[in-house]
Amino acid sequence: MSAPTAAGEGTRRTTPIAGRGEIVVAGLLLVLAGVLVHGNLTMDVVGDGGLLGPQGAGWLVAVLAVLVALGLVRSALAKPAPAREAAAAVSADTNWRAVLTVFGGLLAFTALIETVGWLIMATVMFATVATGLGNRNLLRNVTVGFILASVVQITFSGMLGLALPSGLLGRG
């Protein structure tokens, strides 16, 4: 599908992040700590919550997040070269096109479910994910998706009384 593994050989070593995926996780943990600290500082505390109060647990988790993030960065920097290369090889061998297609399908569903409705959006998402995962028979993907979406609509909306938005089709 995309470039074979061997093509990544030259570019692999260029960034200091390559083979050190832990740094990404550490970054996310630091963002999390930041959000918790910001939330604690701007929190509109109601009443008396005792020693820890509503913010205490937030501080504890924020400190934990920072400590774990620092530990991850340290272990990433101390990683021996062979382990780094192996990790870089694995991450270079990712089918990003498939990941982005699938995620795009999810985002489209999220954004449009209420305006366009379940039947159309579920069909679109099914077809997008199936196509993203390498099934090139678009017509069949759409058909299978439509059948699945209809069956779900009938069982959940019709029999179990769960409300699924009808969107465009409902107005027509």
């Binding site: 996780v25 509109d44 647990a57 498939a98 990941v99 999810l106 569903f109 994910v129 390498g134």
Partner: protein, 514 residues
């Protein structure tokens, strides 16, 4: 005996056509997700959790426990026939099981594993029936200090002691703890980390978190690996699925040894059945070496019998820990706990008093589920293997549709879908970096328990920290925890793992990548 009459009452509740149907559906779904690589019982329960809004509690719990056991029945099928374990719990079975299949003994390997899973389930469930009420009685004396110790124990055990890398386990735990904090504070009514978004006042729904982390994360992970995994071939299973007398005599001790290894692990928050299955595999291998003609490596029946029995025994006793102590020891158990909570029931010491009928019916259903699963798996294993022919693209597209349906149906809220996308992406990043996902779920579910019991303990004692270590139970738990940490440190300081363990780990990667 009290327990026996209660259990008989439970059977009375379960033996209705409707409830038997839920047992059957659960067993069916469980076997199906167990057979398919990459799908686990935790994901299946997560995807079905929204159904709790339309089902009565007993029906949902019966179905979910069928899925829970069924996942462990089915997971060895793909491992034996294709050398691709359906789940990490079947890796230990795969080593000898696939060799048996290659040697033309596929039906025997499948039968050994199905009977092993059955024996493990039945033995463990019987123990739960007799000991869970006693455990629950003991636990009625638990105060906030004990609960805090229990939650802390679960956190540390699942993130550091069991995990490959303690740092990664702790990272997962931290994310889970933070998600659990969002929402209105129960004791003061303060809105926490909601950023003025009304949809967040009730907190992030457990359904959204589990579906995002387990299902969406998995779909993205599979997409990233698409077209990268090598092909595998399916060995057809032909011939009688029965064991000869000689085979049975060799497998029986292994089944029993496996089950006795598995039972204690269900009570320890060790993240499921991986550890006991490997422990059982190693035990059988050591015993095999003493034989005149060691068979391990050529398809030894003990290598299939032991780990399978161990895996299901762990699942059975985990159910006991969940019901009696409210302590989930694996991701699936955590989801069962969430199911109880959806219905306003709190597993733990009071459950047997308040919802006794449901508990005993559930235990009765576990016995029935084990029997149904044996019938479904013993003669029909080759048919289940046909599921592996289902195109991967449709399977995962279907999972995506059901994931979004579940999340949207819970609250009819677009915010939940946005959270699902974001958390799914986070789970994808975590999986790429070998960060385990189970600690996230355990933290989300036990986080509030830990926080509020700590705050209660402080309030009750006038902020005296000594109150946390003032009872024999808390001291015992913290001692156990300290020993666990010491063992982990010792294990890490030892010379690198023997080649066999490394091979097992690589196998696991192959398994989880699929």
């Amino acid at each position: 005996m009290d327990q026996l009459s209660s259990l008989a009452g439970g059977f009375g509740d379960v033996l209705t056509p409707m409830n038997l149907m839920w047992v059957l559906i659960g067993a069916f779904l469980g076997t199906a997700v167990g057979v398919m690589p990459g799908l686990g019982s935790a994901m299946a329960v997560a995807l079905l959790l929204p159904m709790t809004f339309t089902l009565d509690p007993l029906a949902a719990l019966i179905m979910f426990s069928g899925i829970y056991f069924g996942g462990l029945f089915g997971d060895s099928t793909a491992g034996i026939l294709m050398n691709t374990p359906g789940n990490s719990t079947a890796i230990a079975t795969t080593f000898e099981g696939h060799k048996m299949a290659r040697g033309g003994r596929a039906p025997q390997a499948l039968a050994t594993s199905a009977i092993g899973a059955f024996i493990g389930s039945i033995l463990a469930t019987t123990l739960v029936v007799f000991f869970a009420p006693t455990m629950a009685d003991l636990a009625t004396s638990f105060g906030p200090g004990e609960y805090f110790a229990l939650a802390l124990f679960a956190f540390v055990a699942i993130s550091t002691v069991v995990s490959e890398s303690p740092l990664r386990g702790l990272a997962a735990l931290t994310f889970g703890l933070a998600f659990a904090l969002v929402g209105v504070d129960q004791s003061t009514g303060t809105a926490r980390y909601t950023f003025e978004v009304p949809a967040l006042f009730d907190g992030i729904s457990i359904v959204v978190i589990t579906v995002a982390v387990l299902a969406v994360g998995e779909v993205l992970h599979v997409a990233g690996r698409h077209g990268r995994a090598g092909g595998t071939e399916l060995i057809p299973s032909r011939g009688r699925p029965w064991l000869s007398g000689g085979e049975f005599r060799r497998a029986l001790p292994a089944w029993l040894r496996g089950a006795s290894i598995g039972v204690p692990f269900g009570i320890i928050p060790a993240g499921g059945a991986e550890v006991p299955t490997f422990l059982s595999y190693t035990t059988e291998k050591q015993l095999d070496k003493r034989r005149d003609e060691p068979e391990f490596g050529t398809g030894a029946i003990e290598g299939v019998a032991g780990p399978e029995a161990a895996g299901n025994a762990t699942a059975g006793s985990a159910m006991g820990a969940l019901l009696a102590l409210g302590l989930p020891t694996s991701a699936t158990a955590a989801l069962l706990l969430a199911t109880f909570q959806q219905y306003g029931m709190q597993p733990g010491p009071l459950l047997f008093e308040r919802n006794g009928e449901i508990v005993w019916a559930l235990l009765a259903a576990l016995f029935l589920a084990a029997i149904v699963l044996l019938i479904l798996n013993l003669p029909f294993a080759p048919l289940w293997a046909k599921l592996l022919m289902l195109p991967q693209s449709y399977l995962y597209a279907g999972i995506t549709v059901f994931a979004s349906l579940g999340v949207y149906a819970t609250g009819a809220s677009q915010t939940d879908l946005v959270l699902m996308c974001a958390l799914g992406l986070l789970a994808f990043v975590m999986r790429r970096n070998d960060v385990p996902l189970a600690p996230v779920l355990i933290a989300v579910i036990l986080g509030p328990l830990a926080e509020y019991s700590l705050r209660d303990a402080m309030a009750n004692s006038g902020n005296d920290p000594v109150t946390l270590v003032s009872s024999p139970i808390t001291i015992g738990l913290y001692t156990l925890l300290a020993l666990g940490i010491a063992w982990t440190v010792y294990r890490r300081l030892r010379p690198p793992a023997p080649p066999e363990a490394v091979a097992a780990e690589q196998q696991e990667r192959v398994g989880s990548d699929r």
